[in-house]
Amino acid sequence: MEWSGQVFSWIYQYFDNMAFLLLAASGLILIYGMMGVINMAHGELMMIGAYVASAAFYVGAPAPVAIVAAGLVAGLVGIAMERLVIRHFYNQLLSSLVVTWGLSLILSQGVLLALGPSTMNMPTPFGSFSVGGFSFGVYRMVLFATAIGLIAGVWALFRFSSFGVAARAAMENPRMASALGVDTKRVYTATFAIGSALGGIAGALFAQTAAISPFFGQNYTPMAFITVVMGGGASAILGLVYAALYLAGVQTIASNVFNQYVGYVSIMAAAFIGLLVMPSGISDFVQKRRARRMAR
């Protein structure tokens, strides 16, 4: 066991912790940040992704195909949810929370009734590598890279594409946007579908390391929300990255200096303190600091 291995292990854990938060929150950030909807059923979209990926995998599809299929199905379910229910609850935080809690009960319980209490997960691919006497799973790094890729993709989509411009306009001022010829309804539906698809993909990715059950997603939702809210609304996607950097950093340090129990508690404590210091989230805080610096 060498120092290089220990140091790499810390970095590895940091990336791993970050990947967890980023993946769990990547779909939520769109739905919460752009539509003001707290989607408690996001975990169920992840669960659907996990089921679809696993089913596709065991009928012979290669893993990447299974993951894409998971995204597609979750996206379709998202469209149905949005058209039938969610569209009545834009920007109503707690009402949307209640209604999506109901949806989450329906989805998880429906899957339980239809498919039974569990299914086989997928094998973890890629094996391991070692650094300085420590060995590490390759897949966790792939998760991290994928998470970064997905976030960057979403950012680019909303930043550069014409859909992104229309979406941002619709979020900012729906009436103005529709007067300018943006079909706001379709933009909302598409945004929700993309958020849902991201959830499905995240679920499929987690399905390769976690057991799959109808209640698979519920373990991710609260932590994902804390991350999203911590990020703040000033710049949603950047905020998510800040929040993941911050929370995963605190967790990694605390788990290694103390133990993993403290590490877990410290995420919550860090969110508590972070929100008090930055009452509108990290991205808002950063933006204000920058503004103040420019003024001087």
């Binding site: 229910v85 935080l93 949806l103 404590a269 008090l276």
Partner: protein
């Protein structure tokens, strides 16, 4: 409507009526009294199980009212109301175990059960409101507080986690530290020889819980229709504007928050006394969301609706639990349907609709059209 009814209602009721609450007419109060009387007489016809279950529903309704005060009237969203309920419950149990043999009563434990969460709310609330935390950030922060409390309570399985004679007990719940310590006492009120014990399974506890619910309900009606209540609504509608009248909005929010926490704590203490059991599961996400569901489905801006919704939903979900696997699915469908049909709350919408219907059927337009109203109509 208010203008008409004000003069006709006895002075006693005037303080309880106002536009902050639906149901201000004489008819409403007659029906209200009939409802309370029916509940009071319920133990005479219902089985023991129904009585003790209804006691639990009343306690839930107090918890729901506590959230209604801050969410519906002061505009503070909280996803951590069950934290105060849990703290109140544990406080009652801990104090009760330690004092019951010395004093022979557990009224002090009930008081601590309300005060402990109020103190917690004062501390957390001061930090939140003086940091200018708002909206969803308050909601999430309170959820984090609740989860942290739950994390702590779950890992107290070690016997070292004992406060006097009370062993926190981790996931298995609060209990006596040693064989010689008493278990969580029934609610026992009074002094010396003059004590009355309220067994959570009996009628006396039922009436006590009903009385507590009625008292909290009337107390909150009075509060929200008082000038402090107007202030709460003012804060909800426009924090900044209220501040420009010289009010420290943060202090008002903190006050409402502490009152709400004390009521939630009272409910928690009653819950512990009811089942003589308290466990850390109450701090997790589900129970916190459940309170929000009760309030949202009822209609967060009306106290009566919240009580009716809590009683109905509790009853529905406990009946559904006997249906087996399909129960949660049906509950989900009910929630989604309720929110789609009446996003502002099923019972509040129903009440407002019936209010309009009553007015129309009497063929009397609601307010005597003032010059101002005419002017408004003309525009």
């Amino acid at each position: 409507m208010t203008g008409v009814t004000r003069s006709r209602i006895p002075a006693l009721l005037a303080g309880l009526n106002g536009p902050q609450t639906l149901g201000n007419s004489r008819l409403f109060w007659v029906l209200w009294l009939a409802g309370v009387a029916a509940f009071a007489l319920l133990p005479c016809v219902a089985s023991r199980y129904q009585v003790l279950t209804a006691s639990n529903f009343f306690i839930s309704a107090i918890l729901a009212l506590s959230l209604c005060l801050i969410w519906g009237f002061a505009g503070i969203l909280s996803l951590g109301q069950a934290a105060f309920f849990g703290v109140g419950g544990y406080a009652y149990g801990i104090v009760g175990i330690n004092l019951i043999e010395a004093t022979g009563e557990s009224g002090a434990a009930l008081v601590v059960g309300a005060l402990a969460p109020a103190l917690l709310a004062a501390a957390v609330g001061a930090l939140m409101f003086y940091s200018r935390l708002k909206g969803v950030y308050v909601a999430i922060l309170m959820l984090v507080v609740s989860l942290l409390l739950g994390l702590f309570m779950r890992q107290t399985a070690d016997p070292a986690y004992a406060i006097g004679g009370a062993y926190l007990g981790g996931m298995n719940g609060l209990g006596p530290a040693t064989a010689s310590d008493p278990s969580i006492p029934n609610l026992t009120l009074g002094f010396g020889e003059l004590v009355a014990e309220f067994d959570g399974r009996g009628r006396s506890f039922y009436w006590l819980a009903l009385g507590a619910l009625v008292a909290v309900y009337l107390g909150l009606r009075w509060l929200v229709n008082s000038s402090f209540g107007y202030l709460l609504v003012a804060v909800r509608e426009d924090e900044r504007r209220t501040e420009t009248f010289g009010y420290d909005v943060r202090l008002i929010q903190l006050g409402a928050f502490c009152i709400s926490a004390a009521l939630a704590g009272l409910a928690g203490a009653l819950y512990t006394a009811w089942g003589t059991y308290i466990h850390p599961d109450g701090f997790s996400v589900g129970p916190n969301i459940l309170v929000v569901i009760w309030v949202a489905v009822g209609g967060r801006k009306d106290l009566t609706s919240v009580v009716v919704a809590t009683l109905s939903l509790s009853w529905i979900s406990i009946e559904l639990a006997t249906w087996g696997e399909i129960s949660l699915l049906v509950l989900g469908v009910i929630l989604v349907a309720a929110m789609l049909v009446a996003p502002e709350g099923v019972f509040a919408t129903l009440g407002a609709w019936f209010g309009r219907l009553m007015v129309r059927s009497r063929r009397r337009p609601a307010p005597p059209p003032t010059a101002a109203a005419k002017l408004g109509a003309a525009r």
